[in-house]
């Protein structure tokens, strides 16, 4: 099954997990996506030791958080879109606000604009307190068919 076929299946069954499990890198990071009561899509990176980038603090690697943010934005675009195209990342800009401790990280996205060719997405990540985000980011995607 292709990724897009898996996505169609995930939409039918209202369960993104099956699609995410087909992405090796998402599994390596321990990504899970759930639709919470408010209808928001929350992507969670389950903590594991191999996410650590600074063993002294300890803190999660900025690169794995970048990957979580990018993935959360892609899941949001795939989940909300009527027509399905795999988004291609053009730029990702991350502001690191706080260091990420050895705990799960959650991320949500807002699609600022989805045009015919370009989609703009804002992403925020937090750990224990949503009011204290550890990173904010924005990403721009190409969303047209090749």
């Amino acid at each position: 099954m292709t990724l897009l076929e898996r996505l169609a299946e995930a939409k039918r069954t209202n369960n993104l997990g099956a699609m995410i499990q087909a992405i090796p890198y998402a599994n390596l990071l321990g990504l899970e996506a759930t639709i919470v009561e408010s209808g928001e899509l929350v992507t969670t990176m389950k903590f594991s030791q191999h996410l650590i980038g600074n063993a002294q603090l300890p803190a999660i690697h900025g690169g794995s958080i970048g990957a979580l943010l990018e993935s959360a934005a892609v899941f949001e675009l795939l989940w909300r879109a009527e027509t399905i195209v795999l988004p291609k990342t053009i730029t990702l800009t991350v502001d690191y606000l706080r260091s990420a401790g050895p705990r799960d990280v959650h991320a949500t996205s807002v699609i600022s604009r989805r045009g015919r060719r370009i989609a703009n997405v804002r992403i925020e990540a937090w750990q224990t307190d949503r009011a204290q985000p550890i990173t904010t980011a924005h990403a721009i995607f190409l969303v047209m068919r090749d």
């Binding site: 992405i23 090796p24 890198y25 390596l28 603090l57 690697h61 900025g62 990957a67 730029t91």
Partner: protein
Amino acid sequence: MADDKVRSNVIRGFTAGIPHNVALGIECTELGESRSTFVLRYDPKLVGNPDTGTIHGGAITALLDGASGAAVFAAITEWRPIATIDLRIDYLRAAVPPRDVNAKAHCYKVTRNVAFVRAVAFHDDEHDPIATSAATFMLGIKTGQKDPPDPPDPPDPPDPPDPIDKS
């Protein structure tokens, strides 16, 4: 030379000392004169699109973030903890499976508090990049602990001109 020994220890620290780099297959291969060179080994576990076998953009993000941080350590003359303030990545084209991805980072400016770094990810030719990035780092951050553990061995200061490197 003692400097070479320190440098090889620091290079090892950026590879084996960082669990996420070990998990992804990211290695530091060269360090010096405000510059770093890293490599990300292709591995099926890094795939973002199982239909094509292309590496996930996130792995490139981790590569560029790590290379950029290392370039800061190669640029400062004494050990100071650093923290990424921001990182912007432009994805120019997909990495070609199953090829490794190289990264070169250059810390081109250090002020009292902030370091500025540019980096590029590529297969063979850095003028044909897969991704480019611009990052800023805060220097001398607090560790947030009362009794911080001993810092790792200090990185070597920027190298004096080395005739071997110039060849």
